[in-house]
Amino acid sequence: MSAHHHSHDAPPNPYLEKRRSGEASEKLAERAAAIEQMLVDKGLVTTDALDRLVEIYENDLGPMNGARVVAKAWTDEAFKARLLEDATTAIAELGFSGMQGEHMVVVENTPEVHNVVVCTLCSCYPWPVLGLPPMWYKEAAYRSRVVIEPRTVLADFGLELGGEVEVRVWDSSAEIRYLVLPERPAGTGDLDEDALAALVTRDAMIGVARPAA
């Protein structure tokens, strides 16, 4: 496109940083504690169960899982075929499954097609393979702009795509969760799966970056 778009020059949200000040935080912590007390008192959950949930998502799950899926797809053609046919089952072969990944679809980047994933309505994201999403993925600027001006958003991330490439944006409006299979970088033919996995970033699996070369 020839026109230069200035939408990304609009000032960012002036409210969000202010929410992290002492008094606002204290009130939020009080509200959270009140709900937790109620849930425990009403016998719905134990405190230990809540602690374990935090631990799983803060420590155990993360994009290193998705990186293993990608590295295996790059080195094992049969696995890649299964991944593109039935991603949920193929990903489960590696031991990854569950909440917010019950219905996986893998979308493959090629020289002709570049995929990028969003949830415009909220923040849906494939937790079993990528862990929890970064704040930018969940906030208004990305959710609103990537569907209407994906090339500008990708350029802001440092990813420039030519006019001959088809950009596909996937809006995760249901429980289907999308993982981008990035292109394998050139010159990596002699790397093993572990070394390849180390090149695969979270952002590449969302579709806003390419793997490290």
Binding site: Y15, K42, L50, M99, L121, M135, E139, S144, A174, I176
Partner: protein, 208 residues
């Protein structure tokens, strides 16, 4: 509902601002809110669809000026009130660590064996209806009244528009539909680009 959460296509929010070395949680109360939400989904506070809708029910201005986990906290409070949790009798069995260890890898699939047969097949041209429900929907405004092509069929899935309102799962066919960027955004959109979105059967009608 037509809420400010339905952001697709707006260009007024400025740059995407990634945070370097961002932690999963910025404050401890966020951890607790996160865990409480996961522990409650599909259980004491109802289905995930009702939780999402509880966020949508926030005042629009409040939604835009508060942080992500503040939305979850507001939804927890709303759902607890919806369910009259404060007056409810104590449940028999709480979710325990063992329960968490089982629930996380199992998840909660939305696909169901029940429901009608699909009306559309891969390759069919479809038009999204101009639906403007006051309750929960997963049909964003930017794709209402647009013509696209069915790219794949996902089987029957729980229908959020009813599930969010205790009106039943009502599973129906779910499709991945492809829209050319020009069909959504006008003739200046890059000619090759497209958007794919998952849409339920009742959001669609045939298009010629």
């Amino acid at each position: 509902m037509n809420g400010v959460h339905d952001l697709g296509g707006l260009t007024c929010f400025g740059p995407v601002v990634p945070e370097a070395d961002e932690p999963a949680f910025h404050e401890d109360w966020e951890r607790r809110v996160f865990a409480m939400t996961l522990a409650s989904l599909g259980g004491g506070l109802g289905p995930v669809d009702a939780f999402r809708h509880a966020i949508e029910r926030m005042n629009g201005t409040e939604y835009l000026r508060t942080t992500y986990y503040e939305h979850w906290l507001a939804a927890l409070e709303t759902r607890a009130a919806d369910r009259a949790l404060a007056e409810a009798p104590r449940a028999d069995e709480p979710l325990t660590v063992e329960g968490v260890e089982a629930a996380v890898p199992a998840g909660a699939p939305s696909e169901r064996d029940e429901g009608p047969a699909p009306r559309f097949a891969v390759g069919d041209r479809v038009r999204t209806l101009n639906l403007n429900p006051r309750g929960h929907t997963r049909l964003p405004r930017y794709v209402r009244g647009r013509v696209g092509v069915v790219a794949s069929c996902h089987g029957n899935h729980v229908f959020p528009d009813t599930a969010a309102h205790d009106a039943g799962e009502a599973p129906q066919p779910l499709y991945s539909v492809r829209f050319e960027a020009s069909a959504l955004w006008g003739p200046e959109a890059p000619a090759r680009d497209a958007l794919y979105i998952d849409l339920w059967d009742s959001y669609l009608e045939p298009a010629t």
